[in-house]
Every structure is written in structure tokens, then in C-alpha cells.
Symmetry: C2
Subunit: 283 residues, 2 copies
DNA sequence: CCAAAAGTGTTAGGGTTACACCCATGT
DNA sequence: ACATGGGTGTAACCCTAACACTTTTGG
């Protein structure tokens, strides 16, 4: 058995990947069930030890692919977690990343044995210090959503303003005036109306057929946290009990009423805004 | 000679510390001259290898103290840098931190052999990937200044609004209308007027006596970069050539005209603002 | 007294908030 | 028809940008 020796002790270096998803109503996180000790049977982020010929980012991407089948283009570093006793086996420094996945990317779940999407409000206690890492990732997400078009990563190619609003509300934990949100997001110019809508006759959130083994099920009491912004549930928005009108047992949300126009992100416009000066989705 | 063996190869883990300072006119960075290979003779951030019984943050603080004599309370993680060939000796993952130091903290330069403050516009080419790290740190600083009271860390206990404005302008690379800045910062409520001013008869920026071996010298053509904000040098602010009126060869700036009131930060007020909702120093 | 900087006031305009109102769709 | 959501208009309000003016200080 080969081994590697150093004059001074070296910690192991691993990566962890916090992947967020959005099913149209709730924010989700991707977790895997640990099959081995330590923390066997508990849930944790996908990740693993870094090889000597790859960067941390490469490692995170590789491990994510291996463990969940997801092949994500954009991942961002969250930071390094270096507590002395993070791992009972040996000293392990973990470099955490976070990313966003569209529902449509979540297919081909063959590799995804033991991987599961959890509603952000229902995640179980996690292995290692992953609870802590998750909190950091949530904070980071909430920060970033003000400056980056998170929708790009979480929504499908085509989406309605309402979809986008639900996303913002899920992430920030507030609710806005529908009409003001509408104009505000439109006047940024980063959205382009889709001329040839390709939507199903009936709109569902989280099409069962696309989920496969990575099922995104849901259903929970709508935990309405009000945040800082002037966005407490106002009279116009339906208040708590009826916020989700009809929900089926597979987590779909059935829409009634007028259908919204479909839009798509215009990356160029966004890039212009971002470099030239401000994007700032303030609410 | 003892050695440490592992079944799989482990990278070394080190930390680096980017420390910013402000002398009243320019932003500074603290660098040390490398005395050994690799990159002997080049400048780099203070830092070193992590021990097995300390977290990365502890390590950064310890190395900073050892190499520069600075004992900083607040340091924030910038991120991990894990390029495969960062260090020619072996694979080294570096966890970088950044921090802010007041001029008054920069004394007792006994330990600071080879440590020197550099104007942010004059830093030489750095060892390893520290140029890259510095760019990241600058970006981070510019981001953070909108949400955190950076002044806390960089200015003395007592300061004028003008001092604060110069700081913001240095970091962001823009200039604001003096009068609007004045009211805007005051109406946040995070500043409290000092009743018993303890200032010297004449105000200098960067008192020579406090510098000792860690000399903060300066003097350079005022590189006025205009940023995104509506803050290009306007008619009211003196434009380029005369921006610093009288400067002495030891880097002091001599003030004429009416003296400004002295203020101090009120941490409680800031904390309230921050948690309750917004702080957002927008300009 | 003069120049330079600090402190105060004011005004026009843009953006946000909080609604009213009408349109479209599915049951 | 009716309930439910989508899309448009608008007035009050707040904040900011821009700039005039007065006060204080050092020389």
C-alpha cells in the first residue's frame, strides 16, 4: 500500500457543493444520504476529497457529477471551512461551493442514488458542519440575488413574471406588491418577451415526468417570514391560508386565471447594466 | 527527522492576509518582502502554513502577528485559492483573509522587519498569485463598503465627515458632492458628534510619530478613476491638479479652512439598522 | 481681508409605494 | 357568470442630485 509523506502534517482538503433548486413555489437544496461512516445514514452535501491535479472548483464539479449526475456550469465559491474537529476521521478543510440548478437539468437521475431535493424549510439535521454551511449559503444567496440574475440559474428558459416573483419571495422570505414588481423588473430591460410560447396546455410547477428519481416533492404550510423590506403580506396579496390555492399530492400547483406572458433573460442587457453601473434588484 | 504519512496525497494549507489601511488620502496595503525562495526578494502578503490545532482564521491572525506585529480583531475570509501550480514547491491551497487596520494600530513596528505599507496604486508585482488575490480583495472591499461600516476599521476613533468621504472616495474611486454626502451619512444616525474633541492644534494626515518603522509614505499623482456612480469630479469639487493642496515630503497633508466637527461611530445604531433592514450606503 | 473648507437650505426630478381598474382564462 | 390571476394607470411621497449661500478658520 502506497502512502504519501510530508515533513509537516497536512490536513485533507475536500469540497462540498450546495445546490439550490426552485420548483416554482419553494426553494430546494440537493442532499445525499451518507452510505458510510462517519454520519452514516445522515444527509449531507455532495462533495469529496480533492485530487492533486485539480483545483477545488474542478473537484466540486467532479464530485457533484459523480454523486448526483448534475453537470453544472456555474458554481461559486462560498468559502473554506476549517474548524479543527469538523471531521472525526482526520483534519479536513472543506472548500464549499454553491450553485443553482434548473428543474430541467435535474434529469438522468441514474447516478443520483440517494440524492434528494429537500425543501429549504424541511432539511433534516445534516452531517459534519453542513448545517452551518447551509446557513452561510442561504445568506450568500440572499445577498447575491440583489446583484445577480439568480433567475437565470433557477428558472427555466421561459418563465412568467409571477414565476420570478415567487422565486424572489422564496429566497428573500418576503412578499411584494405584484404590480410594482412587474414594472420594476420589466423596466430593467433584462427581460425579453417570448414571441413563440412553447408552454404546455396546462401549467404545472414541477412536471412529474422530468423529476424521475430526483423527485421534487413538496407541500408544506407556507411559512411566510417577513423580512426587512416593505413587503409584508399586504391586503392585495392573498394572505396565508389560501396562498397556494390547489395543490396535488405530487407537489404540482394548479393555476387558474389568466396566463402570464412568457419572458426570457437577456444576458447582454444584464451584462451592460452590471458593468456600466448598477443592477440592484432592490425591493 | 519525523514525517507524516497519509494514504492519499494531501496538499499543504496556508493562509494569506490582505490588510488595508488608510492614511487620510489613499488606500494602502500591507506587504512583506520575502526573504527566502521561492520569489525571494519579491513582495507578498503576510501569511504561512496552517497548524493542525488551529483554524484557518486563527492561523491568519497568528501569522499576521508574527510577521508584522499587527494584532487585528476583525478579519474576514476572502476565499480559498487552489490553483494547482500556485506554489512551485508543492501543492499549496491558500485561504485568504482580509482586514482593515487603523493608523494608530500600526505601531510597535519591531516585529515588522520587512513589512511595508504600499499605496494601492503603486503595489509592485507580487509573489505567487497574490496579484490575483489582491484584485479579489479590492473587489470585496468595494462590495462590502456599501453594507458595512468600513470606516470603523480604517479611521481613527474620531474623524470628520470629510475624512470619511475621502475614505469612501478612495475605496470606490469616485468623488461625491460634499454636501450631499454630509447629510446622507448623518441621517443614517450611525455617527455621533464628539463633545470633547481631542485633536491636535493642526491636523495632519498620517502623523509621522505614529508611523515608526512601518512608514506610511505616500505622495503620488492623484489617480482619479471615475466609477459607475453619478460622481464624476463635479465643478464644486476641486478637480485633479489641485485636489491635494499642500503636501509635505513626509506625506502629510496640511489642512486650511474651517475645521470640521469630529464624529465617532455608534455601533449600536449601526447594528440596529443592519439587522432591522437596510444600511446601504448608496451613492 | 481672502481663500478654502465646513455647515445649512432649497428645489426639480426620478423612483417607490400603494392602490384602483380592466383584461384574460378556466370551471 | 364567477373566481382568480395578469396587465396598466396614477397620485402621494421620499430620496437624490445639483447648487446657492452662510459660517468658520488660517494666513
Amino acid at each position: 500500500m502506497e502512502s504519501y509523506s510530508y515533513k509537516y502534517p497536512h490536513p485533507a482538503v475536500a469540497t462540498d457543493c450546495v445546490v439550490f433548486g426552485f420548483n416554482g413555489r419553494e426553494l430546494k437544496v440537493l442532499l445525499i444520504e451518507r452510505g458510510i461512516e462517519p454520519y452514516k445514514g445522515m444527509w449531507a452535501f455532495p462533495g469529496g476529497f480533492m485530487r492533486m491535479d485539480e483545483s477545488a472548483e474542478d473537484c466540486a464539479r467532479r464530485e457533484l457529477k459523480e454523486e448526483t449526475g448534475l453537470d453544472l456550469k456555474y458554481i461559486k465559491q462560498l468559502g473554506a471551512f476549517s474548524g479543527v474537529n469538523r471531521d472525526p476521521r482526520e483534519r479536513v478543510v472543506s472548500i464549499a461551493f454553491y450553485s443553482l440548478a434548473r428543474q430541467s437539468e435535474v434529469r438522468g437521475g441514474d447516478d443520483a442514488v440517494g440524492a434528494k431535493w429537500w425543501s429549504i424549510n424541511e432539511v433534516p439535521q445534516l452531517a459534519f458542519d453542513h448545517d452551518f454551511i447551509l446557513r452561510q449559503a442561504m445568506n450568500r444567496l440572499r445577498q447575491d440575488i440583489h446583484f445577480e440574475p439568480i433567475g437565470f440559474g433557477l428558472l427555466e428558459e421561459q418563465f412568467t413574471i409571477a414565476d420570478l416573483q415567487r422565486l424572489y419571495e422564496s429566497v428573500l422570505g418576503v412578499s411584494f406588491d405584484r404590480r410594482n414588481f412587474y414594472r420594476k423588473i420589466l423596466q430593467t430591460g433584462i427581460l425579453q418577451e417570448v414571441d413563440t410560447p412553447s408552454r404546455p396546455e396546462k401549467r404545472y410547477y414541477g412536471k412529474r415526468s422530468e423529476m424521475m428519481s430526483m423527485d421534487i416533492d413538496a407541500l408544506f404550510a407556507p411559512t411566510m417570514k417577513k423580512g426587512r423590506i416593505k413587503a409584508e403580506p399586504n391586503d392585495d396579496v392573498l394572505s396565508e391560508p389560501s396562498m397556494l390555492q390547489e395543490s396535488f399530492d405530487d407537489g404540482r400547483l394548479h393555476n387558474v386565471g389568466r396566463k402570464g406572458k412568457l419572458y426570457r433573460f437577456v444576458k447582454e442587457k444584464y451584462d451592460n447594466l452590471k458593468e456600466g453601473g448598477k443592477f440592484h434588484m432592490e425591493f
